[in-house]
Each structure stands twice: as C-alpha cells, then as structure tokens.
C-alpha cells in the first residue's frame, strides 16, 4: 500500500482494474468524487424540473370552455391536465433538489474529500461505511428515479398526510421509500465525520486548530445523526399508512394529520441547517484564503455553528403557524428568532475579515461576495416570516418560496459552486479558466436575483405557491422571473463547460494556487493515495496569515504549466 507518490486519480495498469479501483474503493477522495458526480447529476435533474416550472408560469394558464385547464409546457397528453403535471414537476423539483442534491451536496462530496485531509488523516474513520453510504445513496436515488418514471408524485416534497397516505396518484410509496433510504446515506456520512473529527485529528491538533469547514461539517453531522432518523420513521409511517392503513395520521381512521407535520418538520427544519451549515464552512475557508487574512472571530464562527445545530431542534413549529395551536405558535415563534443570532455572528465576522484585506478577485471570491449578498437577503427575510402575524399573511406564498431559495440557492448552492472552483485545482490537479469562471458567476448572480427577487413581490401581493394558474396581474412579474431562471441556467452551463474544458485541457495546477494555509494545500494536486507522503505536522493555525508564509508558494512552483521539481 505504498502509493506514496502516485495521485489518487492515476489509472491502474489496465482499464478493468481502473474501473474496479473506483467501484470498490474505500478512498475517501474517490468516494467524494463519485458523490460529486452523483449530486451534480441530481442538480441537473432537479434543474430541468425547475425550468419546466418557470416556463409553465410564463403565462397564466387558460381554462377552456369545458373546464379543463391547459398548460403551455407541461400539458403532455390526454388524461392528465396541466395541473397534474405542474404538481408532479414541483414535487419532483423539491424532492430531487432536497434529498438527492442539496443535503449530500457539500458534505458528501467536498466534505468527504477534504475533511480527512484538513485533519491530516489518511482516511475517514470508517472507509467501508463511507463507500456503503455512497451505494445507499445511489440505491435510494434509483428508487426515486423509478418513482418519477412510474408516474411521479404530486404530494409536494413535504408529503403531507392524509393526501400522501391515501392518494392513488403516482408512486408515492416508491418515492417515500427512496427518501427513507437516502436518509440512511446521510446518517452514515454524519457518523463517519463525527468519529473522524474526534479520533483522527493529527497529533497536536486541538479543537481550535481545526479549519472552520471541519467545524461546520461537525455541526452538520450532529444534525444528520440526530434528526434524520425521525424523517425515517415519518416516512415509514406513510408507508405503513399506505400499505396497512395504520391510520395514525389519517383523520378518516381517527388519526391526527397535524401530528404528521410535527414529525416531518422535526427533521426537515434541522435539515435546512444540514443544507446551509456546510455552505457557511466553505465560505469561511474561501474568505480567509482569498483575503489572505486571519479570520475575524474564529471561535465565534466555530461556536455559532454548534449553536445553530442546537437551536435547529427548537424551531420546527414555525412551518406550522397555520395548523398548530396558538400556544405552540407563540413558543415556536419566539424560539425561531434565536436562529438569527448565531447566523448574524457569522456574517458580521466574515465582513469584518474582508475589511481592509487584500481581496483577490477570482471566481471563488466572486462567489463569496455573491453569497454574502444573497444570503443576507435570505436571512433578513426570515424574521418577518418568524413573526406570527406576518407569517399568517405570507404563509404558502411566493414570499416563502423566495426566502427559501435565497438561503438555499443563494446560500448553499452559490457557496457550493464557489467552493468547487476553490478546490477544483486540488481535487483534479487542473486549473479552470478564470475568465469563464467569473463570467459564469456573473450570469448566475444576475439570473438568480432576477428570478427570485421578483418572487418577494409576487408573494407579498398574494401569489400562492404550488399553483399552475394565476391572475393576469401577475403576468409581468412571472415573466421577469422566468427570464431570470434562464439566465441562471445559462450561467450554470457556462460553469459546466468550463469544468469539462478544464478536465480535458486545463493547465496543470500548482499545489497551492491561492496561498492557503490549511493541510490540503500542503498535499499534492491531486493528492496521493493516502493524502500525504508522511503524516503532516501541525506548526501553525489554519488562518495565521499575518505570521506564516503559505506552503508551496515560492515562484519556482508557480508558472502554471511547470512540472513540479522532483525532490
């Protein structure tokens, strides 16, 4: 096992052996790359549904004389009306994006690759479990794909009962089982990360010597382990209801549908922090590196991650302001405001870090700034929604849709794409084209804001979510939003092309192109099979930019196409 000088990506002697080495790999980097490919595919799939939705909403849908509703795009044939297709499309958009894309996006791909390297470890704590979790993910994904092909689901990604437990429409059971299985994949990743952080830090690395990405992943993993099982039992209950008419959530059998909402949101609210916390982590990394400055308030950022993880379990009721009792409403509303505190601490610290720093203008940093802009909007529209009286008005409108997308897409997805650029040279050993990267970022930023900012207006004017039809007055705002979504899609395809081009013909990346100080920049690009030729020694903190010269940044290593001097 002494592949101390061969890149983990290097092919084996024969093609079959190479394929074999990927299928049965226990190398966290390969598993991370496989996760990356899988989540990007899911992102594409979910994106297709999103564009279909936006195109459908280009014009208010007409009602014909016979009462049938026709759609522009989604009216795909006899039998199903546009409404059915629209319901399926938004359900699948939500389900695919949430369960297949955004939850595993940063932790399972970038986290898998970089968590052990940042800790100076050879691998995660349980490598086989790591591979298993990838296969579980693929298996769950196939279940979801089957559900899509076998008729789709139109319950919404929230699977509210009794509709989901009684509808004859589509293949709810398959989709629910798929999400159930995907939950296990998420749990295994979380277990692995927690054990790795506890037991595989390089000797001498204390908790406060860890990079903040690791802190964020740790907090994420706590939520994954503690919340996901409840999703499992919730979905299992739906399956029981459908197969055996258990009736716990079905009022026709004496059950309680609001109880389902408690079950569901007990997981699904913490889940939004599973989605965003890793985004916070990569933003912390990127800001420090591209500003070449010690992060302001390291401990505050670290502890705020843990605080968010803890608070995330206290606030799920704010999704149910229109269905639960006033007593519960009051408690949950008050608790919800707590989340704003640690989140704001992070944003202030990031901005304080950028203050008077020498900010590099490149794709990752552009994404950081886009993130700060969009996430702040998303964050600040949260407190109005946590306010009971306002939320009763805005509940289930496009205001909520816009808020959600500003934190998830404007937060996590922008951070994810930025981090992908940031670590691309390290993962694949190739540079991407900076011009097209920045071009793509600009398009994504503009497209995103055009798409979703208009939806705040739609929401406050009363446009409800999940409707295929709307009144004529909303037409222009919907059309602006649709144009924005096309710009957004264009930007994403620019990135895709740029990445493919980089893999095919990108120049070889230096080991430390941005001048980072964390362990991954000491490793080769791409890293060797066990990450480091010999165990790295911790001699400085992760962000000591004032006092330490980053490794591998002497000019001799730099001209991009240069071969690395053979030591």
């Amino acid at each position: 096992m002494s592949h101390h000088d061969v890149s983990y990506l290097a092919p084996k002697e024969t093609g079959w052996k190479t394929i074999w080495s990927w299928i049965f790999t226990v190398d966290h980097k390969k598993i991370g790359v496989m996760y990356l490919a899988a989540v990007l595919l899911a992102f594409l799939l979910g994106g297709i549904f999103a564009i279909a939705l936006r195109l459908e909403l280009w014009e208010p849908v007409k009602t014909l004389a016979d009462g049938t509703v026709t759609g522009q795009v989604l009216d795909l044939g006899a039998g199903a009306t546009a409404n059915n297709w629209y319901n399926r499309a938004f359900t699948l958009h939500g389900t695919v994006m949430v369960f297949l894309f955004i939850i595993p996006s940063i932790p399972a791909s970038l986290g898998n690759i970089f968590l052990p390297i940042m800790l100076g470890a050879k691998d995660v704590a349980f490598p086989k479990l790591n591979l298993f979790s990838w296969y579980v993910y693929v298996f769950g994904g196939l279940f979801a794909l089957y559900a899509i092909l076998a008729g789709g689901v139109e319950t919404g990604w929230t699977f509210y009962t009794p509709y989901s437990s009684t509808t004859e429409w589509g293949s709810v059971t398959a989709m629910v089982l798929g999400a159930f299985i995907l939950g296990f994949s998420s749990i295994f990743t979380g277990m692995n990360f927690i054990a790795t952080v506890h037991k595989l830090r390089t000797p001498g690395m204390g908790w406060f010597d860890m990079p903040l990405f690791v802190w964020a992943l740790y907090a994420t993993s706590i939520i994954q382990v503690l919340a996901t099982p409840v999703l499992g039992i919730t979905l299992l209950f739906i399956v029981f209801e459908r197969m055996f008419q258990v009736g716990v959530f079905d009022p026709a059998l004496g059950g309680d549908p609001v109880l389902f909402q408690h079950f569901f949101w007990f997981y699904s609210h913490p889940a939004v922090y599973i989605m965003i916390l890793p985004g916070f982590g990569v933003i912390s990394e990127m800001i420090a590196v591209h500003c070449q400055k010690k992060l302001f308030g390291y401990k505050a950022i670290a502890f705020s991650s843990i605080a968010i993880a803890a608070i995330s379990f206290l606030v799920w009721g704010h999704h149910m302001f229109t269905s639960e009792t006033p007593a519960a409403n009051a408690i949950f509303s008050a608790l919800t405001f707590l989340v704003a505190i640690p989140t704001a601490i992070k944003v202030f610290n990031w901005i304080a870090t950028m203050y008077k720093a020498s900010i590099a203008i490149n794709t990752p940093m552009l994404y950081v700034m886009a993130f700060l802009f969009c996430f702040t909007i998303g964050g600040l529209t949260g407190p109005p929604l946590a306010t009971l009286a306002v939320d009763i008005h805005l509940h289930d409108t496009y205001f909520v849709v816009a808020h959600f997308h500003y934190v998830m897409m404007g937060g996590t997805v922008l951070a994810f794409i930025g981090a992908l650029h940031h670590w691309w040279p390290k993962i694949f050993g190739k540079m991407y084209n900076e011009f097209w990267g920045m071009m793509g970022c600009t398009l994504v930023f503009v497209g995103f804001n055009v798409t979703f900012f208009t939806q705040f207006f739609l929401g406050t004017q009363g446009m409800p979510r999940r409707y295929a039809t709307y009144i004529e007055e909303f037409t222009s705002l919907h059309q602006i939003s649709t144009i924005g979504s096309l710009i957004l899609a264009l930007g994403l395809f620019v990135h895709l092309g740029n990445f493919i081009l980089s893999l095919v013909s990108g120049p070889k990346a230096p080991r430390n192109p941005w001048g980072g100080l964390t362990f991954e920049w000491e490793a080769d690009a791409p890293p060797v099979e066990h990450n480091f030729p010999k165990e790295p020694v911790i001699v400085h903190g992760p962000y000591d930019y004032g006092t330490v010269t980053p490794p591998h940044t002497n000019p001799g290593e730099f001209p991009l196409n240069d071969e690395r001097p053979s030591a």
């Binding site: 691998d123 692995n192 927690i194 209950f237 055996f244």
Partner: protein, 248 residues
C-alpha cells in the same frame, strides 16, 4: 451445533487469529480504532433511539388525549403475562451478551460461544412467543389495522350495553373509537422492534461464526462489543414498550 465446545478438538498451542490482530492502516493505534468504533456505534444507537422515538411520540400524543380508551384497550387486547415473559427473556439475553464479551476479554472461546448460544435461544424464544402467542391470535381475530379491523367483543359489549340503556350507538362507540390507533401503534412498534430482534439474531449468528474461527479475544473484541451495545438498545426499547403497551 458443534459450536459449544470447539476447543476440545484444537491443539492448545494453536495461535488464534485474534492474537495477530493489528489495526487498520489509517489508524494511528489500536486504542483509537477501538474508541472510534465504539463512538460510531453509539452514534448509530442514537439514531435507533430517535427512530423509535417516533413511535413513542405518537403513543404519548394519543395517550394524552384518550387515556381511558388507551387503558381499556391495553387491558382488553394485550395480556401482560406474555409481555412479562418476553421482558424477562430479553433481560436475560442482555446479561448473557455481557458475559460473552467478558469471555472474549478473557480469551475463552468456548465461553463466548456458549453465552452467545443462550442469547440466540432467548431471542428465538422472544420471537416465537411474539409470533405464535401474540400475532397469530390477533390475525385470526381480525385485529390487524386497516379497513377490516374488528372491534372484537369489546365493541359488542359496548353496543349491547347501549341498546339496553337506550344510548345512541355512535355515542357509545366513542369509548372504543381509538382502539384502532392503539392497536395500529402496537403493531408497528412491536413489529419494528421484532425486526430489530431478528437482525440481532443474524448479527449474533455471524458473531458466533467469527468466534468459532477464533477472531475474538482480548486484542480484538470490538465487533462483539458493538453487537452487544445494539442488543442492549433493543432491550431498552422493549423495557419501555412493555409497560406502555401491556400495563398502562
């Protein structure tokens, strides 16, 4: 099974695999590996507890609303004797698992196998009682959840009483209206628990095979330890299921 005493055939001088056990390459030492495996198992157990907490949450919420109905349903449909026997058997099996781990720590192969066998017998007893004396009679009596659910003699008594006293049938039946939910929860909770017992049996069968091959000893017993932890959590869940369903 020959498993009880395989030592008799072997030569005392033979080196068992556990004696050569070394930690996997990505660990710095065996202690870290051991602690991490245990930590991972505890995290998994936390997920198990949270999974079952869904059943308990539903239980509490409905019990809080319909305590009388719950009490009567429990007394009518379930017999505490069976639950009690099964509780004792599970407690015994937990104890024998502890002894099996102790035997591994002492390097006594035959003792590991013996205690695991007792554990298996207990688990088998539990499942047989569950299926034969609880599930089967209920299936026969139409006490499965769903449209066919029969309210049994309980409903008959209530309706006869109502007829005799001129009470509206529908009003009278409110008394048994939540039987269906109670039994539904009983079914899904105990069936999920039963599946966990079954999984435990399979896992312990594998452990017995590994023990027979000599993989467990003072230097390597983490797998046995982790399976034991799993078994104890299954036991703990039953410790709550028993009073909540059979005695309340």
């Amino acid at each position: 099974m020959t498993a009880i005493n395989p030592d008799t055939g072997g030569q005392p001088a033979k080196r068992e695999p556990w004696e050569d056990y070394t930690h996997q390459h990505h660990w710095r030492n065996g202690a870290d590996e051991f602690d991490a495996a245990k930590l991972g198992m505890w995290l998994f157990l936390a997920t198990e507890v949270l999974l079952f907490s869904g059943f308990f949450c539903a239980y509490f919420v409905f019990r809080m609303q319909f305590p009388e109905n719950w009490h009567e349903a429990s007394r009518y449909y379930l017999s505490w004797e069976i639950g009690f026997a099964n509780t004792c058997v599970l407690l015994l099996s937990s104890f024998t698992v502890v002894l099996a781990i102790r035997a591994a720590q002492l390097g006594k192969k035959s003792h590991i196998l013996f205690w695991l066998l007792i554990t298996q017998l207990c688990a088998g007893f539990f499942l047989v009682v569950k299926l034969g004396w609880e599930y089967w009679p209920k299936i026969v009596k139409d006490e499965l959840p769903g449209a066919n659910f029969a309210y049994g003699e309980r409903a008959a008594h209530v309706l006869e009483h109502a007829a005799a006293n001129g009470i509206d049938q529908a009003v009278a039946m409110n008394e048994v209206a939540r039987d269906h939910i109670f039994l539904s929860l009983y079914w899904v909770t105990t069936a999920t628990h039963g599946v966990h017992v079954l999984v435990g049996m399979i896992v312990f069968a594998w452990c017995m095979y590994r023990a027979w091959r000599g993989h467990y000893g003072p230097k390597n017993y983490i797998m046995l330890e982790n399976c034991g932890l799993y078994w104890h959590i299954v036991d703990i869940i039953w410790i709550f299921v028993f009073p909540l369903y059979y005695l309340v």
